[in-house]
Symmetry: C2
Subunit: 232 residues, 2 copies
């Protein structure tokens, strides 16, 4: 397998939903997992686990949960409406291509579920007084920053798949029915799933990703000051 | 700049805290931002913004906030204690290398702050009845999955920096004093910072990243079933 430039991988790792049923070599999956664990995590805590589901019965159960969770997701997307930077046609296309996956998640030869374990704060009274006084803020901070310790690993998985010629994408719809997913995977109560990633050889092709340009979303030194800052 | 293999980038993108004061070419920062915006986000909503801080006064203010936020972080790390997979010596080293950054964040020639805007649910009554009935669960789902739409972009930034020979890392300590950060950056109330990333030419070298091995954190088909599953 020849190497792939990191920018090329980043720029062409399209979300590929239609996957061939052919099995993915185990060594290749291990290489993807090895990419995942090289991601950073807060305090280098690596409080993660990765469940690789290939068993057909397990995939069928997860696929069923995903379909039902996606019906909820679809209703929410329609209720919230089209994001301002998408045309109605693009919004419909996004919902339609998503819909195909709702029915076929369980058909992917591999379902990879990155999971995360939260390390709770020590019980009340165990922190120094000044920290006890801001326990609620600390808890809110931990919840808001939680994704910083698992979604970098998810992006490494996406890029590793791209480099190996495998299609994948990140979806979190199933988390709406998290308890059912945990029951299927025998997960302990303190371990949460963070994504469901179908992996396989793609039917479609990798290719350029369209996004809002940097000039619309980047700013120099403060909000609303344009980037690039041509006067510097 | 010759290309860099994506696995090489993933495997050697160490957290490099000590950075030279030399400026980073603007075109290079734009290339990093372009990598960021190619990341996925839920519903392709791209509800993100990236603030590039080079102004010395702005960096000094952010550095001061970061130092005070890190004092809180340090106390919390010590109160929670050493993660099970680190030795006490490794834990001390982690805290010590972090401590250097607390004092020097503002010295980095570039501080990049990826931000995220949440699209709130429509007001009560605007959802179909069956969705109104699960509004609280939907809100909890959105909070838990929020990081899926910004931290993949953060990992792209880390890998782009690696490919360009620039040091960086992700830290979220400053979010403990989010209101102060937002005031410095003139951020609107609905835009939240998600990371503070110092970027510059590194004093140290890129190199292998040590992590818990795949065999300790990956499972086949269900929790506690070992990976690789050599019988398949």
């Amino acid at each position: 397998m020849p190497g792939l430039d990191v920018f090329e991988a980043i720029n062409t790792a399209r979300a590929l939903r239609r996957l061939r049923p052919d099995p993915v070599p185990e060594a290749m999956i291990t290489q993807i997992l090895d990419a995942a664990i090289h991601a950073p995590s807060a305090g280098n805590a690596q409080n993660w686990a990765f469940i690789v589901v290939r068993d057909p019965g397990q995939r069928r159960k997860l696929g069923d949960i995903y379909r039902r969770a996606s019906e909820i997701a679809s209703a929410v997307y329609r209720a919230v409406g089209c994001p301002p930077h998408l045309t109605e046609a693009q919004f419909e296309q996004m919902l339609t291509s998503g819909a195909w996956l709702w029915e076929h998640m369980g058909d992917a030869p591999v379902l990879l579920l990155p999971c995360q374990r939260d390390r709770p704060l020590p019980p009340p009274g165990a922190l120094p007084d000044w920290l006890e006084a801001r326990r609620d803020q600390e808890q809110a901070y931990r919840e808001r920053g939680r994704g910083a310790s698992i979604y970098p690993a998810v992006q490494n998985i996406i890029l590793a798949c791209r480099a190996l010629g495998l299609g994948t994408l990140i979806t979190t719809n199933h988390m709406r029915l998290e308890d059912e997913v945990k029951a299927v995977l025998d997960l302990p109560p303190d371990l949460q799933t963070c994504a469901m990633m179908p992996i396989g050889y793609p039917v479609g092709k990798f290719g350029p990703i369209r996004r809002r340009p940097v000039s619309e979303v980047a700013f120099a030194d403060r909000w609303q000051s344009p980037w690039p800052a041509t006067n510097q």
